[in-house]
Structure formats: structure tokens, C-alpha cells
């Protein structure tokens, strides 16, 4: 263990009758000329020459004034004309959550023990990074403490990509350009730190052209930002081997805000979609499951004599067996009125309201997305643009990707040449797996990934504004949670139970580019900063 005596003492532990130190928490007063902030990591001297590391969660200033009234009276009953001859005695106290002790001593910190800022080595000990194997370390940001001490934070690939645990979820209010930037930084970090040829990445572009130029260098990246990349042991560079898939528009051209240098257009004809019709109806309420039954009938009957002649969306909507002479027909036990409902919804989705994604016949230039994804390769990144699509289409495509990848890995044996891991990154997860939402084919698919993807090698990186808006089984299965600035009402939701009450309020004060990182290995969440993306962003 590296000696930290060089760091000067910033205060001493304090235990009182009313506010004792415990195995989990301790307090210390801060000497008057020192600045300490929440999320600083400190170390206290403890029994048998051990050290206890802790995370500062809150600071408070106490004076000997028994009440606010005492202060009012002290100022000549509220007079602003005079000022105190002797400023009232006060002390600033830091509250600390215990992280670990170097000798596994969890006796409470005794009174008046010296407290210091931890150095980088101490921070790594405190977080458990010191015991991580180098090959599993993924740089995840930089801790910057109040004394200018810096420490690179690593997360453990065994807890990001499995087998121990997996998945990452990022929350935070929009507009700070933080969530997506961090996810992209982390993907780049991961690809540079781990054997990238074993990992494939699928990225959903959901906003403008944000992620449609990730293989191009940025127009400008400041020296400071470059320095930050290098400090983290990473090269500031764009993504390699990127494939862009853009949706077909009504004019048969790519329906995207930005056209990358190389891209493929994808579209959905009926034959590509029959097995995914349940995903298409994910957002349609179906309390009696009649639509689900009808989808079952169609999937079973497609290709048989019952659906003879049905090859396009138009056929399915207007021809037998679902319709005859413009009238909906009874199929099996499903009444014609239910078939009519199905047709109305389907017509809306694939004909009247479609952005052009659905077509009766794909041209040779228009790809079947799931077929292309079945050719997924390690070391490659696949960007699927859904930014211009409507919600139903976005959900459908995301469901298609998740199902395709999940089935690919679930059914694979050693004869398939699949990458070891596939990471799927999607923003606005609350659209696809909302909290309190009714069960749907899409949610089931996402839950499958969340709960079983780890063992298959299918990893979900997800983001949304509010974690509370996402299905708790999805976020609950994420071993790493990243939290950006949020609102006070949001942080008081049950989803944030894992955070100390004092830290919750700190979330509302996070600055742009600051994130709270809670990782399975860490004993407490830490606040990190990270470099700006090293790829071209929307001009």
C-alpha cells in the first residue's frame, strides 16, 4: 500500500453523544483553510495503524447558536447596521460513508483521528480497483477531488460484459449532451481496453445525426480534451469498422438527418416481418389477447394454403383470409370485429402513418436488417438510425434487433462464427421498456436480454432521462449505473434507493459533463468526468 502521509491532514474525526461514528459512517471537522466537497474520497487513521477510506456525502456548518433566533438577536435584534465584533464560532463538518478499511476493521472511527484526502492509490484501494486484474480494467472516467488530486476510475469488464454481472444504464436530464457522449466514450474505452475483435457493437441513433459520423475524426478536439483521453490511457480516435443502416423513406431514399459516407438502407416487407408482427403491435393495448391470437394465426398460416396469395402488406390487409370484399372475416375463433381492429391498426402502422419503412417489395438495394445483423462480426460497430421514425417503428426496429441478436446467440453453437459479446446501445429506453407498462412482446424481449443476456454475451447499454420511467427489472439488472444531473422529485423515487439520501441531493447539482458512477465492484458511487467524443458530431 502506497504511503499517503504526504497528503496533509485536513481535519479530525468527530464523534459526539448525539452524532456517534458508526461502522458505516463517520464525521470529521475540517480545518478552516481547507475545501472539501461531496464525493471527495478521504482516509482516516484507524486502529492498528490501519486506514479507513470513505466518501464524503455531505457537509454542514454548525455554530454554537442554539437557534436562528439566537443569531437574529445576536445582530442587535435583526439590525444590519452593525457587524459581529467576534464572528460566531462555527465548524464545518463532513459526513463520510465508510468504504473500506485496510485491515478489515469496521470498528467505528474514534474521536480526533487525522483525516486526509486520499491519493490515487488510496482511491483505487477504496474502490476495490487495486484488486482488479489489469486485463479487466476499463477506464470509466476521472475523479477530480477538491485538492486537485486526480484518479482514473476503472470498471471491471467481468461486471460489464459478464460473466459476473452485466449491462449499463445511464440516467440524467436531457440537454446536457452527457448521456450519449458518456455511452460512446465508454464504448470506445471498452473497445480500446478489451480485445475489440471479440466484441461487436450495435448502436441505435435516436436523435438527429448524432451518431452517424462516428467513424470520422472530429473537426476540432481541444488539447485539454485530448489530454483527458490520454490521462485515461486511451487514444482519442473515432470508431473503426463502422456500418451504418438507415431506414427507407417514402421516396425510397434514406430517411435520415445525416448521410454517412457509406451506408445501407433497410426496409421491411411483409415476408421479413411476419415472425415479428407481435413486435409491431407492442404499443397496442390487447387486454383480451385477441390481437396476439390473430398474430399467432397469421404466423402459423403464412406460407400455407390458408394465406395463399398473401405476399405483401396490402395483400394481408385487403385480401383473404383477413378480408373479403372490404369486409373483415372471422378466422378460427377470432371474430371478424377483432380482425377488423387488427386491420385498422396494421393499416395505420404500415400504410397510412408509416415513414416509408414498410414496403410491399424491397428493392435489391434495400436490406433486411435482421438478416444483415445475423452476419455480425466482432470488432465491428453497427449504427442503426431510427431518429426520423415514429414511435411504433422505432420500437419495432429495436425489438427486431434485440430479438435477432438474442436468438442468434441463444441458438448458436460453435459452428457459428459469432463475436463473443454483442453490446446494444439504445437511448430513450423508457419508450421500449416503460415502468408500470403492460407486458408486451418488446418488453419481454428486453427483459430476456436484461436477465439472461449476460450468460449469452448480449449486453445492453441503455439510457433515458428518468430511471424511474424504465421497467425496474431492466434497470435492476444493470450492474453499473451512471447518473447525470436529475431533478429532486426524480431522485426521491424508489429506483434510487441504492443512493445515500445525502448523495441524492448532490445529483441535482451535477454540472455538465459530471456523472455519478455506481459500479458493482465499488463500495460507494463516485463522481467522474470524461472526455468529449473523439468523432465527428452533428455540424
Amino acid at each position: 500500500m502506497e504511503d499517503n502521509i504526504s497528503n496533509e491532514v485536513i481535519g479530525r474525526s468527530s464523534a459526539t453523544e448525539r452524532y456517534p461514528n458508526t461502522s458505516d459512517k463517520f464525521s470529521f471537522w475540517i480545518t478552516s483553510d481547507k475545501i472539501v466537497n461531496p464525493f471527495d474520497i478521504v482516509e482516516s487513521e484507524h486502529l492498528r495503524e490501519s486506514r479507513t477510506y470513505g466518501l464524503v456525502t455531505m457537509l454542514e456548518h454548525r455554530t454554537d447558536a442554539s437557534s436562528h433566533l439566537a443569531n437574529f438577536i445576536s445582530n442587535n435584534f435583526g439590525s444590519l447596521a452593525e457587524e459581529p465584533n467576534t464572528p460566531r464560532m462555527g465548524a464545518t463538518l463532513a459526513k463520510v460513508n465508510v468504504m473500506m478499511n485496510t485491515n478489515d476493521i469496521y470498528m467505528p472511527i474514534e474521536n480526533e483521528k487525522n483525516v486526509r484526502f486520499s491519493n490515487e492509490s488510496g482511491i483505487h484501494i477504496a474502490l476495490g480497483i487495486d484488486t482488479m486484474e489489469d486485463k479487466r480494467k476499463i477506464p470509466a472516467g476521472l475523479i477530480k477531488m477538491s485538492n486537485e488530486e486526480e484518479a482514473v476510475v476503472y470498471i471491471d469488464s467481468n461486471y460489464v460484459l459478464g460473466p459476473e454481472s452485466a449491462h449499463i444504464n445511464i440516467s440524467g436530464i436531457s440537454g446536457l449532451a452527457t448521456k450519449t457522449s458518456y455511452a460512446m466514450f465508454l464504448l470506445q474505452s471498452l473497445l480500446q481496453s478489451i480485445q475489440s475483435e471479440d466484441i461487436a457493437v450495435i448502436i441505435m441513433n435516436v436523435k438527429h445525426g448524432d451518431l452517424l459520423q462516428i467513424d470520422e475524426p472530429p473537426k476540432e478536439l481541444s488539447e485539454e480534451q485530448k489530454g483527458l483521453w490520454i490521462k485515461l490511457g486511451l487514444e482519442p480516435k473515432p470508431f473503426d469498422n463502422v456500418h451504418y443502416f438507415l431506414p427507407r423513406g417514402k421516396n425510397r431514399q434514406a430517411n435520415s438527418y445525416v448521410l454517412p459516407r457509406n451506408y445501407e438502407i433497410f426496409a421491411y416487407a411483409l415476408e421479413d416481418s411476419v415472425t415479428k408482427l407481435d413486435l409491431l403491435f407492442s404499443n397496442i393495448p390487447d387486454p383480451t389477447e385477441t390481437i396476439d391470437s390473430l398474430i399467432g394465426e397469421i404466423q402459423n398460416g403464412f406460407g400455407t394454403t390458408q394465406f395463399k396469395g398473401v405476399t405483401t402488406w396490402n395483400d394481408l390487409l385487403n385480401a383473404e383470409p383477413l378480408a373479403k370484399n372490404g369486409q373483415s372475416q372471422k378466422i378460427g375463433d377470432i371474430r371478424s370485429s377483432s380482425v377488423g381492429k387488427f386491420r385498422r391498426h396494421l393499416r395505420r402502422i404500415v400504410q397510412t402513418r408509416t415513414t416509408g419503412l414498410f414496403t410491399d417489395q424491397r428493392t435489391r438495394m434495400e436490406q433486411n436488417l435482421s438478416e444483415r445483423l445475423r452476419e455480425i462480426e466482432g470488432g465491428h460497430t453497427y449504427v442503426v438510425d431510427i431518429a426520423k421514425l415514429n414511435d411504433t417503428e422505432q420500437s419495432f426496429i429495436f425489438g427486431d434487433i434485440v430479438r435477432t441478436i438474442y436468438e442468434l446467440f441463444a441458438e448458436s453453437d460453435e459452428t457459428f462464427n459469432l463475436p463473443e459479446k454483442v453490446i446494444i446501445f439504445v437511448d430513450e429506453l423508457n419508450k421500449y421498456a416503460p415502468a408500470g407498462g403492460k407486458e408486451s412482446a418488446l418488453i419481454e424481449q428486453i427483459l430476456d436480454i436484461s436477465e439472461r443476456g449476460r450468460s449469452l454475451g448480449v449486453i445492453l447499454f441503455s439510457a433515458q432521462q428518468f430511471m424511474s420511467a424504465v421497467h425496474s427489472r431492466v434497470t435492476g439488472n444493470c450492474a453499473t449505473k451512471i447518473l447525470g444531473r436529475s431533478t429532486s422529485s426524480e431522485v426521491n423515487m424508489p429506483d434510487y434507493r441504492f443512493l445515500d439520501q445525502d448523495l441524492k441531493m448532490s445529483l441535482t447539482r451535477l454540472a455538465k459533463g459530471e456523472l455519478l458512477l455506481q459500479h458493482a465492484v465499488f463500495r460507494q458511487p463516485v463522481k467522474v468526468i470524461f472526455p468529449k467524443p473523439a468523432y465527428r458530431q452533428n455540424d
Partner: protein
């Protein structure tokens, strides 16, 4: 803590060997102190000098009260040092020897001097803490006293000493067979404290002659010890006796004199104790905020020294600086807040911080 426990075990063993002990409830009962002790001190001392018939201020005042404007620290950091002493004492037992008996007390006494810098920041500059075992020498045999004295002498370097409760002093008065020694304990402890304060202050002032010094309470002149005759030193009492008569002015006694003292006004400086001191009263706070007309007034005492004539100019300046000391106050923490000077309050707190808690005292006093 183990060492302290062991020391007291030894002391109590020796006392118990020579006296029959009737222990106090819980082995040690804290003797509560009245908040009027300062008034009592003033009363005791004023008995020697009840008739006030002269001014020591020059030129002789032709007025009864004078308006004073505050001078704040930022204008002039006039007062630099603040001293207060404090004590806590416990009745431990009654010691019986044949037909004689003596109460046995334990006292914790402390005093501290704080320094205030230009920014108003206080720091501890001197601190003294002692513990005393008190019992009446006159009520025990010479052998018993000698044995107890011998054992306590061993712990003098640990700041634990023996003190004779029956010893006469001007504060406690004479002790005879009829004296209630239980009641005498409190006054005696206060006397010891005043001696410790004196020692601390003189030692300090001999080394540090710069800056003005405020001692909490009266200066204890006359028979009560003339050694506080130091320049740039004043005593400030929060409570004062009303036994004195001011014969040369219309108002006859202290209450009459002070109840009409206007806000931010001072009285002339009267001669005290054969003009060895001068004292005056100063109203710090508006009457409308106080419950009693004599609240919010301090009694200021200054030695009358050849080297430091008590001029109107000097007294005005001291009074101006004192008025500025009224903010902040320990309102809510001390009943005497209206006349308390905050740095003095903190000096008392500092002295008290080193006291062992009642739980500790009750833990180490074991007569079994």
C-alpha cells in the same frame, strides 16, 4: 482514563483507611451553581466598600450618564485577550472521625485566555485545568490530614491537589465549629478558581503586555488580592451587587442608579476600594428587549494606576469598544446573554471543554 481511575482508587483508598465514609448518592453528586455567583462575589467584596463617595475619573464628571458610540473591531481591534475561569464540583461523601465529620468534595477548575486577531478569529492562548479534593483539616486529626496530604502530593504533577475546606479566606470567611461546610464548598471552590485565574493572568500579562485584556467578573481588589493591578486590564461583570450606596448623587443605591441608565450610556467612574480601582456601569442593550431593568448592563472595573490615569477619554474609548462586543451573543445558550461578552463566553467554554463529564466522575469515584 484508566490512569485517572487508578489515581482516584488510590486516593479514595487512603481516605477510606482514615475516615468512615458515608458516600454521596451515586458516589458523586454534582453541586449545582447559582447563576448569581457573580453578584454574590460583588456583594462580598462590596461589603468592604459600601459607601461610594468619590469619582476617580478625570476630569471630575459633571454629568450622570454619557452617550457612547461603539467602536468596532474593524476600526480598532482594541480588546485582544479574554479570560474566564469556571468550575464544576461534586460532593463525594461525608468523612467521619469519632465525633467529627467533614464533607469531601471534588472540584474541576479551569481557566483559559483567548486571543482575538484582526479578523476576529479566536484562538486559545493559555489554558489551565486542575482537580482538587477538598475536606476540612479542622475536622480531622493531624495524622489523617497528613496521610491524605501525602497521597495527594504524589499526584500534584497530574494536576490533582488537596485543599483545606476549613481554611479562612476573605471569600469563604472564618470557619468555626458551627460553620456549615457543605455550603462552604461552593464558595471555597470559587475562591480557588479566583486564585488560579490570578496566577494564569499574571503569568500571561508578564509575558504579553500588549493589547487590552478583559477578565470576566470583578478584579478582586482590596483584601481580596491586590495583584490584579495590571495596566490595560479590565474586569467586566455581568451581574452586580446592589448593596452599595452612592452618597454623592441623588440616586441612593445601585438599582436606582442603573434602572434609568439609557441605552449606550455609561456612568461616571466611581472610586472603589479606597480608590484602588475605578468602576462604572455601561448599558449595552435596549431596555425594551430585556426582562429586567438591570439586565443588559455591565460593571466595568479598572485598576487605578499611576501609569494609567482614569481619564474620560480612556473610559469612553474602553466603553465604546465594549459596546461593540455585544454582537454576537450567546442568546439561548446562557441566561446571562444580555450582558455576556461572546469571547468571554467562549473562554469559559474552552475551560469547560477539558472537564471530565459527570458520567466519568461518577465512574471513577467508587468508595466500595
Amino acid at each position: 482514563m484508566k490512569e485517572l481511575s487508578s489515581i482516584f482508587k488510590t486516593i479514595l483508598r487512603v481516605i477510606k483507611e482514615h475516615l468512615d465514609i458515608v458516600p454521596a448518592i451515586g458516589n458523586a453528586t454534582e453541586e449545582l451553581t447559582s447563576i448569581d455567583v457573580e453578584e454574590r462575589d460583588d456583594e462580598i467584596i462590596s461589603r468592604e466598600h459600601q459607601q461610594i463617595d468619590s469619582y476617580v475619573e478625570t476630569p471630575a464628571p459633571q454629568w450622570q450618564s454619557k452617550k457612547i458610540e461603539p467602536i468596532y473591531r474593524k476600526q480598532d481591534n482594541f480588546f485582544n485577550y479574554f479570560m474566564d475561569g469556571t468550575y464544576r464540583h461534586y460532593f463525594l461523601a461525608t468523612g467521619l472521625e469519632h465525633h467529627n465529620s467533614t464533607p469531601i468534595f471534588l472540584a474541576q477548575i479551569g481557566a483559559s485566555i483567548l486571543h482575538r486577531d484582526q479578523l476576529g478569529k479566536l484562538s486559545v492562548i493559555e489554558k489551565l485545568n486542575k482537580m482538587y479534593i477538598l475536606l476540612a483539616q479542622a475536622r480531622v486529626s493531624a495524622t489523617t490530614w497528613q496521610k491524605i496530604e501525602e497521597i495527594l502530593a504524589q499526584f500534584k504533577d497530574k494536576n490533582i491537589e488537596l485543599f483545606d475546606l476549613s481554611d479562612d479566606d476573605v471569600f469563604s470567611g472564618k470557619c468555626d465549629n458551627l460553620t456549615d461546610l457543605r455550603r462552604r464548598g461552593d464558595v471555597k471552590v470559587r475562591w480557588i478558581m479566583s486564585q488560579l485565574e490570578k496566577k494564569l493572568m499574571i503569568q500571561f500579562r508578564n509575558k504579553n503586555k500588549d493589547g487590552w485584556f478583559i477578565k470576566d467578573g470583578i478584579l478582586r481588589y482590596g483584601s481580596f488580592d491586590a495583584n490584579f493591578a495590571l495596566p490595560k486590564t479590565i474586569g467586566v461583570a455581568k451581574r452586580m451587587a446592589s448593596v452599595q450606596n452612592f452618597r454623592f448623587i441623588k440616586q441612593q443605591n445601585t438599582v436606582n442608579l442603573l434602572r434609568g441608565l439609557p441605552y449606550e450610556h455609561r456612568t461616571p467612574v466611581y472610586g472603589g476600594l479606597d480608590a484602588k480601582t475605578g468602576f462604572w456601569y455601561l448599558r449595552l442593550r435596549k431596555l425594551q428587549h430585556l426582562q429586567y431593568p438591570l439586565f443588559g448592563i455591565v460593571k466595568v472595573e479598572i485598576p487605578n494606576l499611576e501609569s494609567q490615569p482614569i481619564t474620560t477619554e480612556l473610559v469612553n474609548y474602553i466603553s465604546s469598544a465594549l459596546i461593540a462586543e455585544r454582537f454576537v451573543t450567546p442568546y439561548g445558550s446562557d441566561q446571562r446573554w444580555h450582558a455576556h461578552l461572546y469571547p468571554i463566553y467562549k473562554a469559559e467554554q474552552v475551560a469547560k471543554q477539558s472537564f471530565y463529564s459527570n458520567d466519568v466522575i461518577q465512574g471513577i469515584i467508587n468508595w466500595q
